[in-house]
């Protein structure tokens, strides 16, 4: 029997090593796996590289990890979001490294990691400061930059419903980065609102097939 359910948040994030790359889903606080991120903070892990769209809201979740000095580097498209004071304090104090990646490129780099691609050419950022230092190539008269895949050691995600195989559905715009991050890590842990019996999710409407999911926990 396949059963990806775990009972505690601590079990869901167990085994993450210092220095790990953590894909942290959410767009601002929506779709953010706050409780899993809190559990990662309690686990004591440090020197993390976090990949996220923003850099944390308020004092919990990703913001809490940053507040506690656990994040060595953040890779994101837009660090400032609603109440980013934990990030801002760390950034001004020079305690966190920041890599800015255009939002679509951030998503596409993770998809490339998930899809076994070695890299891709994209127009975004070509001819700009964010494209500097990247291999640039003219294709059909337009400039493209080469972007490399991103893979996480763990992805922390948040979904609405799951079954024991790890099939997932989401709710409205809380879907955002969750499906791509779930695909792009060696280990994927997901907090869900509800676990339903196998077969209860419509097979036409599952957004993340269970093959991408390793651990699910109800929050």
């Amino acid at each position: 029997m396949i059963d990806k359910r775990v009972r505690t948040l601590a079990e869901a994030v167990a085994g993450v090593k210092h220095g790990a790359t953590v894909l942290c889903s959410g767009f601002g606080a929506v779709g953010e796996p706050v409780e899993l991120l809190n559990a990662l903070r309690w686990s004591g892990v440090k020197d993390l590289v976090c990949v996220a769209n923003n850099a944390g809201t308020g004092d919990e979740g990703l913001a809490g990890l940053i507040k506690d000095g656990r994040v060595r580097k953040i890779v994101c498209s837009f660090p400032r979001t609603t109440d980013p004071h934990c990030f801002e304090a760390a950034y001004k104090a020079g305690k966190i490294e920041l890599e800015i990646v255009p939002q679509g490129t951030l998503s596409e780099r993770m998809r490339a990691g998930a899809a076994g691609l070695g890299g891709f050419y994209v127009k975004t950022a070509a001819g700009t400061k964010l494209g500097e230092g990247k291999e640039t190539r003219e294709i059909d008269g337009e400039l493209y930059v080469l972007e490399k895949p991103i893979r996480g050691d763990i992805a922390l995600c948040r979904a609405d419903r799951a079954d024991r195989w790890g099939n997932l559905t989401y709710r409205k715009s809380a879907r955002n980065f969750n499906p791509v991050m779930a695909m792009a890590a060696a280990l994927t842990a997901v907090q869900v609102r509800e676990i339903v019996p196998l077969g209860a999710l419509d097979p036409e409407c599952v957004v993340t097939p269970g093959i991408f999911v390793d651990r699910i926990v109800v929050v």
């Binding site: 929506v30 990030f87 939002q103 679509g104 975004t124 700009t128």
Partner: protein
């Protein structure tokens, strides 16, 4: 002299959005445009966080914390609207599937270069969001921007001083004073507010302006 208010600028830009268009409205001023779509036009608003068919802000009691726009404000979905993930949202953006991106700007150059993501102010951490993807990907990019800064410095420049979002992407500029087109042959004034002639507008604009033969007065209702 009758410069437009911010809401009037949004109103003017909204008049040019065609029926059936798929449109991404940038954070801030462009977002206001959705309030001013002319009667009878059906427009589909896109949001980079995975929504097509965004509606107006929710009425009191109808708020859903899982339904936000790219500016992280609560929003709604219209009938026919759908949800998808971030990656598909950027397939739409980058792949040329959006008819129009209407964006804010710090500066626009005479060749249509756009600078709207960072002023390199050391007091703020930089952040780009989806601005570069929209600038390179939408079929047409238009900008809504105050004609000059608070200090009176032109925002339409020979070359942008701030870091570029994308080169050669802007086709039309809506300011509080004028509607301007970026053409292969420089910037052309399509509309100017009352009280301005070309010399007056030129004095507030860095690159050389040309006046369209069929130029008009830029007028907007009180909105």
């Amino acid at each position: 002299m009758k410069p437009l208010s911010r809401r009037q600028m949004a109103w003017r830009a909204a008049q040019d959005i065609e029926n059936g268009a798929y449109v991404n409205l940038g954070i801030g001023l462009p977002t206001l445009c959705s309030d001013f779509i002319p009667e009878g036009r059906e427009i589909v608003f896109h949001s980079e966080n995975g929504i097509l068919g965004m509606g107006p802000a929710p009425k009191p009691g109808e708020e859903d914390k899982d339904l936000i726009n790219a500016g992280k404000q609560l929003t709604t979905l219209v009938p026919g609207g759908v949800f998808f993930h971030h990656n598909d949202a950027f397939v739409m953006i980058r792949g040329g599937h959006l008819d129009l991106a209407l964006l804010g700007a710090f500066e626009v150059s005479e060749s249509g270069d756009l600078a709207n993501w960072t002023t390199e102010d050391p007091n703020f951490s930089p952040g780009v969001g989806g601005a570069m993807d929209l600038a390179v990907g939408a079929r047409e990019v238009r900008v809504i921007v105050e004609h000059v800064t608070k200090e009176g410095r032109p925002r339409i420049r020979k070359a942008c001083a701030y870091p570029l979002t994308a080169p050669h992407c802007v086709k039309r500029i809506y300011t509080n004073l004028a509607v301007l087109d970026v053409t292969g042959d420089g910037i052309v004034v399509r509309e100017m507010v009352e009280g301005f002639d070309l010399d007056g507008l030129q004095a507030l604009t860095e690159p050389r302006l040309r006046l369209a033969n069929d130029w008009k007065r830029l007028e907007a209702p009180e909105v």
